[in-house]
Structures are given as structure tokens and as C-alpha cells.
Amino acid sequence: MNKLITILVVIAVVGVVFVMLGPLYILDEGEQAVVVRFGEIVDSQREAGLKLKTPVIDNVVRYPKRIQSWDGDPRRIPTEENQFIWVDVTARWQVTDPELFYASLTTMEAGYSRLDDVIESSLRRVITNNRLHEAVRDSNLINEIDRTDPVEADVEELDEEGVEQIEELITVTSQQREVRRGRQELSAEMLSSAAEVTPDFGVELHDTVIRQIRYSDDLTESVYDRMVSERNRIAQAYRSYGEGRKEEILGELENERQQIISSAEREAQEIRGGADAEAAQIYSDAYQQDPEFFEFWRAISSYEDTLPRFRKTLTTDMDYFDFLYSEDGQ
């Protein structure tokens, strides 16, 4: 019994010592390692699994095999036309040759700071050698977009002519400067000039992308000014157009009203004239039958109408009073 215990203890102690000496190490997926013996690289492993090394004297240095992100601070860089912009670049990189990497840089921190230098210098060179719009834009798409007119959607009441007219007023200088290279090409240029250097220290650069471009603060203010004045101009165009249309409608109104009234008046006069003519016809048809009696009749009926309104002082001279002085009417 005691023998068994002794054997077990011995096995356990030997096992522990063996493991502590570390002839084995596990390399995880996504890792790679170089094995260093007295400062000299004796082995490198790129595949995951259980690996062997010489106990005690071998030292395992692990590096990630995964793609790494590099993220620099935004840099304030002048473009070719000397406008200062903030450019923020990120990159993807990978340790592809762990032995070379260990030999030239050793630590990941050193790797990052080396990339800082490499990428920043190529970033500066590319931005300073190109104009602003080349970095901002990627293609000439902006000049090709067929803009569905924003007015049409807003103002339903406008006819086609109105839409055209207002479009002319609000159109912002839509033709932008031609892009010859574009952002992606600049990024590619940045990448190719940086990637030329990185294999020297066992690193492969996968891409460098411009994450963000911003104006510098003083430039931002003047851009705001421009944007505001542009909007004001458009707003003014809409308002003035509205006022113009209103005036036009009021003019139309006046025109139409006068047409209506005057044509009504014309018709009224025609009707009156026709009636007058007809009345004259009727009168003359009747009166022509006996003009002499007409004169008498017209006279007495007119007297009948008008005389009561006069103040009257009569003399007995009238025929009426013929019988006033003598019975036979003198």
C-alpha cells in the first residue's frame, strides 16, 4: 500500500517538474511565435497547436497573427491650395514575418510607433500634393446625379414654367471641379508608398483608409458663412418668386374684372340701344298715323305731366278763359 503511494507521489512530482520546465507550449489560433534561445531566433511557428521547445533555455515570444488596426490621431495638413484640413486615417496591418519583426522591432508597441512614422509621412505627402476636392471626393458622380427637382415636390401648385423659372433661381453652381484621382486613389497611393517600407520589418500593410476629413476651425466658420448665404439666396428666390406670382395673379384679377365689367356694360348698352330703337319704332309707327293729332296729343299730355310742378301765374289771355269775358267766347 505504502509502495503505491510512493509511486504515485513520484509520478506526480516528476509530472509537475516536467510541466514547469515547459517543453511544451500551446499556440492559440490567431497567434504566432518565435522561439528565442540566448537571444538568437531558433524557430518560428505560424500554425496553432501544441508545440515543443527546449525547456528552460528557450523563450517563446508571441505575436498576434490577426489583422491589426492602426489608428492615428487626426492630422492637420495643408492641401495643395494651402487649405488646412484635418485628416484622420486608419490602417490595417499584420505581422507576416515574425522573425524579421522580432529582429527589427521586437514589441508590438514599437511596431505601432514605426507605423505612425511611415503612414504619417506618406499621408502628408499625398495630401499636400493634391487639391482639396481630390481628397474629399472620389469620382465625378456629383456632376452626374440627375437631381429630381426639390421644388416640384414642395410646390404642387406650380406649372412647368414656374418650376423651370424657380429652378433657375435656386440652382447652386452645380458643376463641380473635375476630379482626376479621387479619395480612393489617394488612399491607394498612400498605401503603396507606405507598404513599400513595411516588409522591411516583417509587416504587411493591408490598407490605409481616410476615415474622416474635416475643415480646420477657422475654415469651418467661413464655410458656415458661405452655406448660410447660399441658403439665404435660395430662400429669397422662393419668397420673391412667390411675391411675383402673387402680383401676377392680382394683375390677372384686375384684368379679368375689367373685362367682365366692361363687357357687361357693353352688353347693357346694346340692350338699351335695341330697346330705345324698338321703342322709337313703336312710337313712330303709332304717331305717323296722324301727325297733326300727335302734336296736339303729345303737347297736352306733356303739359299734364309737367305743369303741376311749376309755380303758376296765369293770365286770362289763354284760350281757356275765352268764355270768362263773354259767353260766345269773344
Binding site: 406670382r245 395673379i249 357687361a264 303709332a286 296722324d290 286770362t316
Partner: protein, 336 residues
């Protein structure tokens, strides 16, 4: 009481056999405990043997070799994950709350016509290949953020501000999704971006935004002005129509009256004429006297002057109401 009794007595006798049993039991428990693992329904399990990828296992209770010979990593492959840019969701729920903090370093962008715009967006993605997700790229989420930002920035930078705010939105979303997927696939990240949604696209806050809003107001003003014109038109023209109609109708009334009067007069004349022709002498005289009667007969106050009163001076006051005064003057004139 003897001193022996102070140490607690084990319930069984501690002998070598017992120790071995205990060790074996402990080993068995250890083996069992480290041999099973649970993979949730939303996940897939990736099993590594000595650090090397060995297999992928489905949800449920799974077996692995004990004592870290095999290790498992669970990856949520069924869950759609969200990522917000330019804002953060503070608390999702019935009332989703967004953090008040802005992230201008994410959302402020230059447009192709060199204007500035503030774009907020979200992406949704799902891990499709758990092994790639785990082992190909470090800082997976930061990588997704970086690429998403750079793609949206570039797409916005390629368009005019008015298009970004308006019509090109959907294109940016679709192209953005495609290009993000393309780039991330090139790293072998093992995800699929299912959706890119632009949330809030506005000009920079403050006076620029006010100016943009003023344009909308101006469009409203335009509509209002036109409507005002139309309103006045609608107010006046029907009225003018009515007035025209009235003028015509009045003329018709006049015409009817004129013709009717003429016909009446003519008819009366005809009839009188017939009578007159039958007996011209007396009819004429009768008509004359009837006229005088009707003209003078009704009113008082007419004055009658003899035809032989040659030196009658008609001094009459032309004003009716000054009759007394006129008499006075008359008298004064007489006394002289």
C-alpha cells in the same frame, strides 16, 4: 476529558485507501465538470484543441476533452448586432433613450460641394463565420467602426449636400452596405452587414441649420403668397361676374320697360286717335279742357292775372318760404 478529544474526529478512518478514493473522485468530478459546456441557441461553439481550431458545435450540451486540452469559445451568430455612429443608444427599450452627447468626430463630414453636414447612422450586422470572427482580425468592433465611418465619409464626400440630405439617401445606404461588406470580407472578418441606415442628416447645428430651415419656410411663404393671390382672385372674380350680370340684367329691365311703355303709349294713342277721328272737333276740345283741369285744378295758389291789367308788375319772391318778407318789400315799394 482527555486532550485527544479537542481535535474533531473524522466520520471515517483516514487511511491511504481513503485518500486514493478521494483523489479519484475529485479527478472524476474535475473531468466531468470540464468536459461539458453549454452553447446557447443564439450561439455557435468553436472548439480548440491545444489552441488549434478543431470543430464547430451547435447549440445544446456539448462535450469536450477535459483539463483545457480542448477549449470552447461561444460566438453569438444568430444575434443581429447594432452599432451607432454619431450618437449612442443609452437605454434600449419601450422608450429608447439616446445619449445627449454628440460625437461630432464621427458625424461631421465634408460633402462633395465642400459643405459641412452632420450625418448619424446605424449599422446592423451578424457574425456569419465564427472561426473567422475569432481568429482573423483583432479589435473586430473597432475595425467595423473604422470601415463603416470611412465608407460613409467617402460616399457623402462624393455628393452634394442637397443630395445627401435628400434624394441620394437610399443610394448611400445601399452602396455603403455593399462596400462595407466588400472591405470587411477582404479582411476575412466573418460578418455580414445586413443593414446600413442613415438616421439624422442635418446641416451643422446653429445658424447654418436655421438657414436651411428658413429655406423650408420660404417655400411655405411661396405657397402662402400664391394662395393669397388665388384667394383674392377667388374673392373678387365671382363678385365681378355677379356685378356684370347685374348690369346686364338692369339693362334688360330698362329695355323691357322702355318697350312696354312705348307699346302702352302707342296703344293709348291708337285708341284715342280712333275716337278722335270719329269726332275730331269735340274730342280735341274735351282733351284740352281735361288737360287744363288736371294741370291746374288740384293745387291751390296759382295766381290769375287779367289780360288787360297792363301795368301789372310781377314782383314775386322766388323763394316760397319768404312770402312775408316779399310782401313787406312790396309794400315799401308801393309807398314810395
Amino acid at each position: 476529558m482527555s486532550e485527544k478529544d479537542v481535535t474533531p474526529r473524522l466520520p471515517f478512518k483516514l487511511n491511504p485507501r481513503m485518500i486514493i478514493i478521494i483523489v479519484i473522485v475529485a479527478l472524476i468530478i474535475g473531468v466531468v465538470m470540464s468536459s461539458f459546456f453549454i452553447v446557447d441557441q443564439t450561439e455557435e461553439g468553436v472548439v480548440l484543441r491545444f489552441g488549434e481550431y478543431h470543430r464547430t458545435v451547435p447549440p445544446g450540451l456539448n462535450f469536450k476533452l477535459p483539463f483545457t486540452i480542448e477549449q470552447n469559445r461561444n460566438v453569438p451568430t444568430q444575434v443581429i448586432q447594432n452599432m451607432a455612429f454619431g450618437f449612442r443608444v443609452e437605454e434600449a427599450g419601450v422608450n429608447t433613450r439616446q445619449s445627449d452627447v454628440d460625437y461630432p468626430e464621427e458625424s461631421i463630414m465634408l460633402t462633395g460641394d465642400l459643405n459641412i453636414v452632420d450625418v448619424e447612422w446605424i449599422i446592423q450586422y451578424r457574425i456569419t463565420e465564427p472561426v473567422n470572427w475569432l481568429f482573423n482580425v483583432e479589435n473586430q468592433e473597432k475595425t467595423i467602426r473604422d470601415i463603416s465611418q470611412s465608407v460613409i465619409n467617402r460616399l457623402v464626400g462624393d455628393r452634394a449636400i442637397i443630395d445627401v440630405i435628400g434624394a441620394e439617401r437610399a443610394t448611400i445606404e445601399a452602396d455603403g452596405r455593399e462596400e462595407m461588406n466588400e472591405t470587411l470580407d477582404s479582411y476575412g472578418l466573418g460578418i455580414n452587414i445586413t443593414q446600413v441606415r442613415l438616421q439624422n442628416i442635418v446641416p451643422p447645428a446653429g445658424r447654418v441649420q436655421d438657414a436651411f430651415e428658413d429655406v423650408n419656410k420660404a417655400v411655405q411663404d411661396l405657397n402662402r403668397l400664391i394662395n393669397e393671390g388665388r384667394e383674392q382672385y377667388n374673392q373678387e372674380i365671382p363678385r365681378a361676374d355677379g356685378r356684370g350680370e347685374r348690369i346686364v340684367q338692369e339693362a334688360r329691365g330698362y329695355a323691357a320697360e322702355r318697350v312696354n311703355r312705348a307699346e302702352g303709349d302707342a296703344s293709348r294713342f291708337d285708341q284715342v286717335l280712333t275716337e278722335y277721328q270719329a269726332d275730331p272737333g269735340t274730342t280735341r276740345t274735351r282733351l284740352y279742357y281735361e288737360m287744363v283741369e288736371s294741370a291746374f285744378g288740384e293745387e291751390e295758389g296759382s295766381e290769375l292775372v287779367d289780360r288787360n291789367l297792363d301795368n301789372f308788375l310781377p314782383l314775386l319772391n322766388m323763394r316760397r318760404d319768404g312770402a312775408t318778407e316779399a310782401t313787406g318789400q312790396n309794400q315799401g315799394g308801393g309807398s314810395q
